[in-house]
Amino acid sequence: MAVESNREIGQAGNASNRVPAVQLEGVTKRFADVTAVAGIDLEIADGEFFSMLGPSGSGKTTTLRMIAGFEEPTSGRILLHGRDITGVPPFDRDVNTVFQDYALFPHMSVADNVGYGLVVRKVARSERSRRVEEALRMVRLEDYGARRPSQLSGGQRQRVALARALVNRPRVLLLDEPLGALDLKLREEMQIELKAIQQQVGITFIYVTHDQEEALTMSDRLAVFNAGRIEQVGSPADVYEHPATTFVAGFVGTSNLLTGDVAVAVIGEPGVYTVRPEKIRIADVGTEPESDEASAVGRIRDVVYVGPDTRYIVALEVGGELVVTQQNLETSSMEALATQGRSVRLIWKRRHVLSLATSEK
């Protein structure tokens, strides 16, 4: 509980310094009979890399579209740098969006795509071409200005979309699953590049993703969405190591929940608890745990070999299951797989046990 209060102090300290880049106050959005966003409050600081993480249908994209102005909230207010922009059309908002499908203009060259925002805002021709060039250089596409979007690869289109948004120097950049259509290798490259660009330009990035790893690696802070609500807001380490609810524990990482009778048997008290898979070690059944440790006996039901790690799914004697992840420091795949069916004792430090609030749904 000490951690909880520390976090609140840290957050308050940040917020009092500057006006937040984006503030959502009691924002809801209903489509006909579906409630997409069920009342959220959120403050995103200036210059922050902020992620909105959640499964599809959790309201994260709708929230982003309300900040962009494509959807109007059913109730609540949206403030941009302290100014109420609820009801302001997208073309009068100082934000730009990178779309999931890139939304490039197929009938224009790459340079004309990037320069579009400057043309419609009537920026002088000489400044325009300079800034377009600069933006294309930033995404390493300086030689591609004359091409059509159809002549580019997925990764290149993604960069054009980014350059097209950044060239306008918005105060807030919204990114809607921008890496969703790229293959894994390219995704990882682009994650690093996006983060570098964000630090270079110093613009607030609001990044929507359903990929928890992406959110954890890139963000300064993130919000976990579920069923139109925010379950938790915090730094990646905060959210991962101190998930506030069962939903967060399950969505960000492997859940490893201990509930009901199992919780009483293993932890000693009723409630909902979780232990991260990498915090658990596997020992012989006869091993005695240290005084600051807890343990449970079980049988290895399944072994999943995933290259650098192995995941062991252990069925506990008292009921329930725990997943244990171990790095393959000296284990070969053969040795790892051979442990299947063996009885073992799982041991972990008591301080790694997290107590959770139960989520709705």
Binding site: A68, G69, F70, P89, P90, F91, V95, N96, T97, F99, D101, A103, L104, F105, P106, H107, Y116, G117, V120, R121, S150, R164, A165, N168
Partner: protein, 266 residues
């Protein structure tokens, strides 16, 4: 190859038959256009350009041609503007009675031309409009609008919405977005819809007969009148031959637009 040899031969013969069936009348008409005899009798007796000269010197044909071109252009222009506006409204906005309006838009093309014609004639008389080129244009526009509307709405359904959102996001107001993003996206649909509408207007006769004034004649009306005078038949053949030549151009263009260059872009 799953077909047997006989099936293959049969299919080839069928193809040849269809081609003959479609094109033999056109070939015969072409031959008569160059036949010196004023009477249409087989075999042709020689080769001449006389009928072309006669057609060119007939002022009624010239006037009819100009009228047909004006009617086609006018009706197409009206159709494109109204059809596009209606398609945008119906595709983009949900409103009460949308399905009914969509149905009402398509209906006129299914109505017999006689009905459209007599209805328009009655209306023009009631309102007190003089019959002439203007009434022909309005008459043709009634079915041309449907063509334009159908073409545009089919394209709008295929066009992704996000480029328009991106345009607004980048600071373009609604009109700028329409002009710079939506309109270019619909370009080829407008072109093929326009060509088709023009072609329909150009050979329309039923509605035209009902809505034309006594002094106004279009090419189909002139041909219809001329075939009843046997001495004019060679000139009719010449006109028909010229129309065949000019019809192939838009058909060829429309085919290229819908299959080739434009097709792959969206």
């Amino acid at each position: 190859m799953t077909e047997s040899r006989w099936v293959r031969i049969g299919l080839r013969m069928a193809t040849v038959l269809v081609i003959v069936f479609l094109y033999l009348p056109l070939v015969i008409l072409t031959i008569y256009a160059f036949n010196p005899s004023r009477l249409q009798a087989w075999p042709p007796t020689g080769f001449t350009f006389d009928w072309f000269v006669e057609a060119a010197n007939n002022p009624a044909i010239g006037r009819a041609l100009v009228n047909s071109l004006l009617a086609g252009t006018g009706a197409t222009a009206i159709a494109l503007v109204l059809g596009t506006a209606a398609a945008l409204a119906i595709q983009r906005y949900a409103f009460f009675g949308r399905d009914t309006i969509s149905f009402l838009f398509i209906l006129p093309i299914a109505l017999p031309g006689v009905v459209t014609g007599i209805a328009l004639r009655t209306t023009f008389q009631t309102v007190g409009v003089d019959f002439g080129l203007a009434t022909i244009i309005v008459g043709h526009a009634t079915f041309c609008v449907v063509i334009a509307y159908n073409n545009v709405i089919a394209r709008l359904r295929r066009l992704p919405r996000t480029p328009e959102e991106a345009s607004a996001d980048l600071g373009a107001d609604t009109w700028t977005t329409f002009r710079r993003i939506t309109l270019p996206g619909m370009g080829t649909a407008l072109l093929s819809g326009g060509l088709l509408a023009f072609a329909l207007s150009f050979d329309e006769i039923i509605v035209t007969l009902f809505t034309a004034g006594p002094g106004t004649q279009t090419i189909p009306m002139w041909i219809f009148a001329a075939i009843q005078r046997p001495t004019e038949l060679p000139v009719v053949n010449v006109i028909a031959f010229v129309l065949i030549l000019f019809s192939t151009i838009p058909v060829y263009l429309a085919q290229r637009i819908s299959s080739g260059v434009g097709g792959g872009r969206y």
